[in-house]
């Protein structure tokens, strides 16, 4: 699966590592080479603050000998360093333990048409530095025009261009190029001791799809000023509405719980529960690596397994764990094309949207909390328990009444999934792990 072998030296390096590994006595070898070009500019108060531009390459590989695996990585690509690392890895493998599940996947006959995935925008490479700086400047300037904004964390424009090459002793050779760009701004409102803050970021693979400076600035301003003069609330159990960014966070926690690696390691409460009803019938969750232009799309995973579409939850029933080859062998389940490094990662992992608008969801709520941000940690995949600091908007009589801060929300993921009362129609794929607005029947909100 090679799109355009425009960096033959990268392909050569990956193939050379595979060949060297075999020469030193490895049974199997898999090598990844990545080549990235990065540009980022931060502006603040109308001035460029930081400007970074660089290119960097990296190599990562694994060798397997007698069912024993050793890994290595390097950003020093000197041929002698690479040779030494390969030799060390093969001899280090002997000190590991025999593992019946170790090894590369069999070579797949499926092929993914890389251009149809729309991962690369030549327009990103062509963007001039002056244009990128101007976009960031514009965004901050527009945001600061709003008199309610009292300070700025600055605006940033970032572009990334990455080439990924993978070669395996199973005969796999693949390569693809991708681009990303983002425009963001972070703001503060209110006076020194009563500051509130928030930000907005637009990310896309294609420059033309990025939100305009006006839109990014407007959204950041709205999100910031709506928090001014927050109140505390009493501890109570109420319906909680998750804004899309908050659903993204919840879906991210769900991913940690349906990773086949966590399942075989018994570090998730969903281990051993395939086929069971976990959420109510509003919960359909899909992983799809083949959606054109989306942030989590890719033709093949880090083992060269073609990506695909996998239904993880079907109307509340747990159907599949997302797996790499190793965890798949452990659990006697098929790999799903989600390998990343030694673990698994989501492709585009999302909660399927429902029929109602976010406005209708708020209007349906007599009293409750719209969750706008959470801060902190507090996720436990072993039990499904979650507990986080939260900020939000209080809803009274179907309307937003006032902002709320210094509360925490606490609950259990399984209970939350079985209490989803409404699912919004506003899914936007703003990140690889995402979902629309949802309303949970009841959650504990701790305040005074």
């Amino acid at each position: 699966m090679i799109e355009k072998p425009k960096s033959p030296s990268l392909l050569e390096l990956a193939e050379r590592v595979v060949r060297l590994g075999k020469e030193y006595g490895a049974d199997e070898v898999e090598a990844t080479v990545s080549d990235g070009r990065e540009f980022s500019v931060d502006v603040r108060q109308g001035q460029v603050e930081n400007l970074v531009e660089a290119g960097s390459r990296g190599l990562g590989f694994k060798v397997i000998k007698d069912m024993k695996t050793a890994y290595a990585a390097s950003s020093d690509l000197n041929p002698e360093t690479v040779r030494r690392l390969v030799r060390n890895a093969v001899s280090r493998a002997a000190l590991g333990s025999r593992d019946e599940c170790a090894g590369l996947p069999p070579l797949s006959s499926e092929k993914v048409d890389i251009p149809s995935l729309c991962l690369y925008d030549p327009g990103v490479r062509e963007l001039e530095a002056a244009r990128k700086i101007k976009l960031a400047m514009e965004t901050e300037r527009i945001a600061l025009e709003d008199k309610r904004i009292t300070n700025s964390h600055g605006a940033s424009f970032i572009t990334n261009e990455v080439t990924t090459v993978l070669a395996g002793s199973n005969g796999f050779l693949g390569s693809y190029d991708q681009t990303f760009c983002s425009l963001s701004v972070g703001l503060q409102a209110g006076e020194t001791d009563e500051k509130v803050e928030d930000y907005w970021v637009s990310v896309d693979r294609f420059f033309k799809n990025l939100e305009s400076p006006e839109t990014v600035a407007r959204k950041a301003v709205e999100r910031t000023v709506r928090q001014i003069h927050p109140r505390k609330i009493r501890t109570q159990t109420v319906p909680v509405i998750f804004e899309p960014a908050m659903t993204d966070w919840l879906v991210g926690f769900l991913f940690a719980c349906i990773s086949a690696v966590a399942v075989y390691q018994k570090t998730t409460f969903l281990a051993g529960r395939l086929g069971e009803r976990i959420g109510n019938e509003k919960i359909t969750v899909i992983d799809d690596g083949l959606m054109p232009g989306k942030l989590g799309s890719r033709p093949f995973d880090s083992e060269g397994v073609p990506c695909r579409k996998t239904t993880v939850f079907e109307r509340g029933v747990l159907r599949r764990f997302l797996s790499n080859t190793y965890a798949g062998r452990k659990l006697r389940l098929p790999t799903t094309g989600n390998s990343e490094g030694t673990g698994v990662s989501p492709n585009n992992f999302y909660l399927q949207p429902g029929p109602v608008s976010p406005q209708e969801i708020i209007a349906s709520t007599e009293r409750g909390l719209v969750l706008t941000r959470t801060i902190g940690h507090g996720l436990n995949p072993v039990t499904g328990d979650l507990s986080r600091g939260a900020l939000g908007l209080w809803v009274e009589g179907g309307e937003i009444a006032y902002p709320v801060s210094e509360v925490t929300i606490a609950g259990n993921l399984e209970q939350i999934l079985s209490q989803v009362e409404m699912v919004g129609n506003d899914l936007e794929f703003r990140s690889p792990v995402c979902g629309p607005t949802i309303k949970i029947g009841a959650l504990t909100v701790a305040g005074e």
């Binding site: 001035q47 930081n50 970074v52 001791d193 986080r388 504990t444």
Partner: protein
């Protein structure tokens, strides 16, 4: 002490040329940061050594400062041609006719070595490291039949940094770092709970002898998981909170430390920016950040700008005393350097960071502190926390107890504490004499850069705080 190894092979004449090239568009300051790091990694789970890894990170960054603007270019190809390209990239931030001549380099020598070790870990054999891993694994697994899953990770690295700048400063450091951590899952009647422990720092292999044997790490992880099997839901609402000595230092790190980093104050986004010399908290509260503590995970001989660090008084009996500075902020604010300019690696611009942050020990007897609480929470172990510049912070308790009538009673499950820093600082009612540091395993993230840190505190009572539990 580990010896400095020069992996860069760049002559002084070449370095001078690069620094000049970096200032070819004007600019006030240029700097070369070269870094070589060699890591090893071992993972044991399901009773086998599942992974071993070796990795190398080599690269160099050129920085140019012009006024308050920073230009940065980096490369992992150390050919003079690529370095020159990085220098020109950084140079482009400036736009003036000014020319600067580079003085002769004068090496900065730190007053003492902060890594007093005997047996460097990066030179130990893999077999020897695997043996440490196995010992931790087995002691965890065998401590109780309810322990169903054990995982042990061992990581070590040796990092060599070499810094020169256009002011003629030259500095280098060879920093060891090691971490052995164990996680355990305990199971009883279908309920599963998770425990964690670990140790390490800028230490040698001898550390795992008597100071912190792997067996203790394994047992501690098992004990935490077993304790949580019996834990009840944490209460929800406002109540007194007693912070256990040690791990609770993360609250200080989050609630206070970040907002005393100079960049946030220079930009006036931190709630502390106008509070230097002003009283913000209880007179019982004194906070330091100290990168010079021997062998600590967060310590260093020089920071990542070549500045020898010093113990920095942040809060003096409730009054804001100073901020944590890097070169850029110190110059723009007209304050002295404190040696807190750190970076994750050569691809990052240095920013002000914490190292080893702690609340100084007070006068109170920890027993008396507990006795003063009729009903509240004893917060013992933490997963981490987060703060906003506005002062709102949270931190997550992973293990703790209920306090009832001055005594610890039932263990409690996961809960979150939330507050606003100035409010909490004023509510610090008692400070114990028992200063303790948390595990030597912590990492702090800021602007996408992760650096090793530690935190410490004595027993502390906060009169009221919002606790987010489920009951």
């Amino acid at each position: 002490m580990i010896a400095f190894e020069d992996h860069f092979q760049i002559s002084n004449a070449q370095r001078t040329k690069i620094l000049e090239l970096a200032l070819s568009h004007g600019g006030d300051f240029s700097e070369i940061y070269a870094e070589y790091r060699v890591y090893s990694f071992i993972n044991m789970e399901e009773d086998i050594i599942k992974e071993t890894a070796e990795s190398i990170s080599l690269g160099l960054g050129v920085r140019v400062i012009s006024g308050d603007k920073t230009g940065y270019g980096y490369t992992n190809d150390l050919s003079i041609e690529s370095i020159g390209k990085a220098a020109l990239t950084a140079a482009a931030i400036a736009d003036s006719e000014k020319s600067v001549s580079i003085p002769v380099f004068l090496e900065t020598l730190p007053p003492e070595d902060r890594y007093p070790l005997i047996r460097p870990v990066h030179q130990a054999s893999l077999q020897e490291k695997i043996e440490l891993v196995r010992r931790a694994y087995l002691s965890c697994q065998k401590s109780d039949p309810r322990i169903k899953k054990v995982k042990v990770l061992f990581q070590d690295h040796a990092q060599y940094v070499s810094i020169v700048n256009s002011e003629g400063c030259e500095a280098e450091d060879a920093r060891p770092q090691v971490k052995l951590v164990c996680t355990a899952v305990a199971e009883k009647n279908g309920r599963r709970e998770f425990g964690f422990s670990g140790g390490g720092g800028r230490v040698g292999l001898e550390y795992f002898g008597q100071t912190f044997p792997p067996e203790r790490i394994g047992r501690d992880a098992a004990e935490e998981a077993l304790l949580l099997l019996e834990a009840v839901e944490a209460p929800a609402g406002e109540m007194p909170v007693v912070l256990a000595p040690g791990h609770a230092g993360v609250l200080v790190h989050e609630a206070v430390g970040h907002l005393l980093e100079a960049d946030f104050n220079r930009k006036k986004t931190s709630i502390f920016w106008d509070k230097l010399g002003k009283k913000v908290g209880s007179p019982r509260l004194t906070i330091y950040d100290d990168p010079t503590r021997p062998s600590f995970r967060g310590s260093y001989n020089i920071d990542d700008e070549g500045t020898p660090p010093s113990r920095t008084l942040l809060i003096d009996r409730g009054v804001v005393h100073s901020f944590l500075q890097d070169r850029l902020s110190a110059r723009l604010m007209g304050r002295p350097l404190t040696g807190h300019g750190r970076r994750q690696d050569y691809s990052c611009i240095p920013i002000p960071r914490m190292s080893n942050t702690y609340v100084d020990g007070g006068q109170d007897d920890p027993e008396d502190i507990l006795k003063s609480v009729a009903k509240g929470i004893y917060a013992e172990k933490f997963e981490g926390g987060q703060v906003e510049d506005s002062g709102k912070f949270t931190f997550s308790i992973s293990a703790g107890y209920l306090i009832e009538e001055g005594r610890l009673t039932a263990p409690i499950k996961q809960a979150t504490l939330i507050g606003t820093n100035i409010d909490i600082l004023q509510k610090i009612e008692r400070v114990g004499a028992d200063l303790t540091f948390g595990l030597q395993t912590g990492t702090c993230g800021k602007e996408g850069q992760e650096v090793p840190v530690t935190d410490g505190c004595p027993t502390i009572k906060i009169s009221r705080m919002t606790v987010g539990g489920q009951s």
